[in-house]
Symmetry: C2
Subunit: 301 residues, 2 copies
């Protein structure tokens, strides 16, 4: 998986701080997560081909997470898009986007499909051969979901030396990659594990923004490889967190520790702080493997 | 008047080309004209104080002219605005903006007043002691207005030497500035023109975007000091202009010439052209006083 942060600052877009949006690449598919104002410019700056995005996931309907969506959808049309675009987001998103397009008398010339969410329980919202996406119900001021991306187990890797040694014909190779044993012409059964290697372990990524501290999400994100958890505040502004239903860096780290995740990426920083390094320092007092999101930064895992 | 171009390119926002938005300053009042996506970032880059904007004029409801409005209105709230904000724009704008705010359960904490326009005739939509704003009905694919800003005639300027010579008491100064004669204690009437100078001539600015070539607007913009007229295309793409209801640089210049305006500013360039200098060259074959809008550029008149 490759994660590119397009924006990771709270509230209003500024010259150098973009609101939430990120692109997750899984086996050549691009998933856009949230779409604050200016996302399309950030996509251009990162030289990400618009046509490769087919699925957009919107966590909640605060402006800093979706005000870039009408513009992006319009730009897809201007670029001559023909392929389906799927938008997953809270109930109401379809009416809002449709109204904006209708006012401009500008419909899409590609299929635009909305998948509106209103469940308070986690549910699988997308699945194909490569990835499964589930919601992570969060606790914010309005209805909000995080998203869990789980790679599906891939094909086994052929052991080229072993198939040569046993004289296995190449017509069996696809079966071997699918996990099947091989019966040779002499009737001998060769166990699949002698002919192939385990596939790379599937990776998982959980996006959790915006939310106050809630242990309800721990079973859903247990042992994920990478957790992006919002950290709007530091503990010095502790009192603001429950009031605005956001988290501190320490709270994000506590969730990461309790869920035994591999790595924690922090983001959604309030712009009141001089340096985002303070978020890392605070989180590392609780959990060791912390990285800081920043606009334009990439993570591979 | 001082005009600051925040964005002047057609269609989609790009890294270096912003969609339409401009700020017109008239005697310390700031008027925002159109509000494409990213306008609030452009305002910050130009170091324009958000709180000084009280009136926003939206020409039409294509995305590149108003998709920045929900974000700007939300940011005003986050900045603690208390004063009224007036938004003038086509019918439907109130429902759209209100829906976006409602979805985020985020209302404004300042009075937000919509003035919806649907007249096909020019009408005065704002007037105070300093300025009068009227609509300029344009011909585009959807209902569109340009806006004419006319400074009101200011106070006369006191002739300090003359009032001393005639021994006029300062209690008469305000009357003199308002154009009144003075009757001295000895009964002598002093003509106002002997005591004061004419005020600076009032300036006028007409914003006309987006529109196809239409001579209907000429009586409305006759002899304005500065005309901003869209020039999406060059004559080399002549056929596209009526089809998309946009203008070429030559057409914009023809309007400027026929309306006998003082200066023509071109903008709303299609991003298909390598250099915007071509627009100036083409327009200058028809009309001599042409300037090019560009993002961040200012004009004083």
């Amino acid at each position: 998986m490759k994660l590119t942060i397009l924006g990771c600052y709270a509230a209003t877009p500024r010259s150098l701080n973009n609101p939430t949006s990120q692109v997750l690449e899984i086996k050549s598919n691009l998933f856009l997560i949230d779409c604050g104002e200016g996302t399309q410019v950030q996509l251009r700056k990162q030289k990400i081909k618009f046509s490769r995005i087919s699925h957009i996931f919107i966590s909640h309907l605060h402006g800093d997470h979706f005000f870039g969506l009408p513009g992006l959808i319009s730009t897809f049309r201007l670029l001559g898009r023909k392929t389906e675009l799927h938008v997953y987001g809270p109930k109401g998103i379809k009416e809002a986007i449709t109204l904006f397009l209708k006012l401009g008398d500008s419909w899409t010339n590609y299929p635009l499909l909305f998948h509106e969410l209103d469940s308070m329980e986690s549910e699988v919202i997308f699945q194909d051969d490569n990835v499964r996406v589930s919601t992570i119900p969060l606790e914010h001021r309005i209805y909000t979901n995080g998203f869990l991306f789980e790679e599906q187990i891939g094909e086994r890797k052929l052991d080229v030396a072993a198939v040569a040694k046993y004289g296995v014909d190449k017509c069996y190779f696809q079966n071997i990659k699918s996990g099947k044993d091989v019966v040779l012409d002499n009737g001998q059964n060769i166990d699949n594990r002698l002919l192939s290697f385990d596939p790379p372990p599937p990776q998982s990524y959980a996006f959790c923004s915006d939310t106050q501290y809630t242990e309800q999400i721990i079973p859903l994100i247990s042992e994920v490889d990478v957790l992006y958890h919002e950290a709007t505040f530091l503990e010095s502004e502790r009192a603001l967190a429950p009031k605005t239903k956001h988290s501190t860096a320490k709270e994000a780290a506590t969730i990461a520790k309790k869920a035994k995740v591999g790595k924690l990426i922090l983001g959604h920083y309030s712009t009141r702080y001089g340096s985002i390094d303070l978020f890392k320092e605070e989180a590392e007092t609780i959990f060791p493997n912390v990285e800081l999101a920043d606009d334009g930064k990439g993570f591979e895992f």
